[in-house]
Symmetry: C2
Subunit: 222 residues, 2 copies
């Protein structure tokens, strides 16, 4: 496993860089997913379960972004999947230049789906395009159903919302209906999948969506 220390991108044209990176990846049939959430919402656990469930169907690689440590990349590697850890020099988000630099350290030849596990932060990552073809965000039950009210941008920017840790629902005041309503108000087109990576509840639908998106990207390479 490689650890890379990143520094602020020098370019001012992040949106353009993101578009170039996205096109490069799609032309190779690679679906890059930008996975965003607050710290501790279960991004790595969700990826562990997804990789395990889909390992006979697709090759998944993970770019782990953190300010420090490499515990997440180690967890992904333990499953036999490719993982690269990037450190962001204290920065609270990933941009397209940083993502491209991290991906350079990966062997993408046989990769179907690459996840960028963004910095654990419900705010800043939503402001920066990364080059991903799809944005997926996680909100976990313990965080509360009021998060769409307080941090609207990420909900607006995401194609999918995974509501995770549904197995802990009996333990928390979390109004699923109210939460979904708040999210749909911000983003009528977003797909919402309540899942538990622990019990497996709801994982099938999410994984079906993922496989479909991979097929769409591969279908473009003709």
């Amino acid at each position: 496993m490689r650890v890379i220390e990143l520094h602020k991108s020098v370019t001012d044209s992040n949106d353009r860089d993101a578009e170039i990176l996205r096109q490069q990846l799609e032309s190779r049939g690679i679906l890059l997913i930008n996975l965003m959430s607050s710290a501790g919402s279960g991004k790595t656990t969700l990826l562990e379960r997804t990789i395990t469930d889909l390992k006979d169907k697709v090759n998944i690689a993970v770019l782990e972004a953190d300010i420090d440590a490499s515990v997440d990349a180690e967890r992904i590697e333990a499953l036999g999947a490719q993982s690269v850890q990037v450190h962001t020099d204290g920065m609270c988000h990933m941009d397209a230049g940083m993502t491209a630099e991290g991906l350079k350290a990966m062997d993408l030849e046989n990769t179907d789906i690459a996840f960028l596990e963004n910095i654990g932060n419900l705010i800043c990552p939503a402001e920066y395009a990364t080059g991903a073809s799809r944005n997926v965000m996680i909100l976990s039950i313990p965080e509360g159903d009021d998060k769409p009210l307080k941090y609207p941008l990420m909900f607006e920017e995401s194609d999918v919302l995974l509501i995770t840790k549904t197995d802990t629902k009996p333990y928390f005041r979390f109004d699923m209906e109210k939460c979904v309503e708040r999210v749909r108000f911000l983003n009528p087109d977003i797909k919402i999948y309540p899942v538990s990576a622990k019990t497996g509840e709801g994982m099938e639908e999410w994984e079906k969506w993922l496989m479909e998106q991979s097929a769409i990207i591969k279908g473009k390479v003709k």
Copy 2:
């Protein structure tokens, strides 16, 4: 309840502004506490319980900082405590100028302890002095014991770590001993209080610390 829209501070001298604000507040016997954590870790719930427990002993006011909405300020006001909501114009942290502007909208005449409930974000708020006399951070059990490894700065900058939602411990893999060890490695002097605002477990020790700090600040006004 007032809602204030904040914009980026124009000053480059945040540390100096913070020091001036801290001295102004302390000269009036007011303890300002900067309460930081990830989104959804239970800052408002912790404050609700603390205000309820201490309401016969001290006057507590809360400055609620969010990107949008005012649900937290409404919860604090429902307890009869003073609360002002500030909106941060999309920004992921509070600085000293923003804090001073928010406090201007409060009646601090009879306030003993003012809390700044910072933006829910485990990263950026730790980088900006706010003018608070003490930094207190929350890590909730569902977020996981690896957070000190991944987001070290906030643990380094805090005087107190509240490990919240201890009532949910049976539900999560959270190694308390390992977590405390990781935190102490970053910050040997930090006070650590495991608490549950739901059951009241551990609240007494935290509230004792809070009352002591208020007495220290008031003792300086001579």
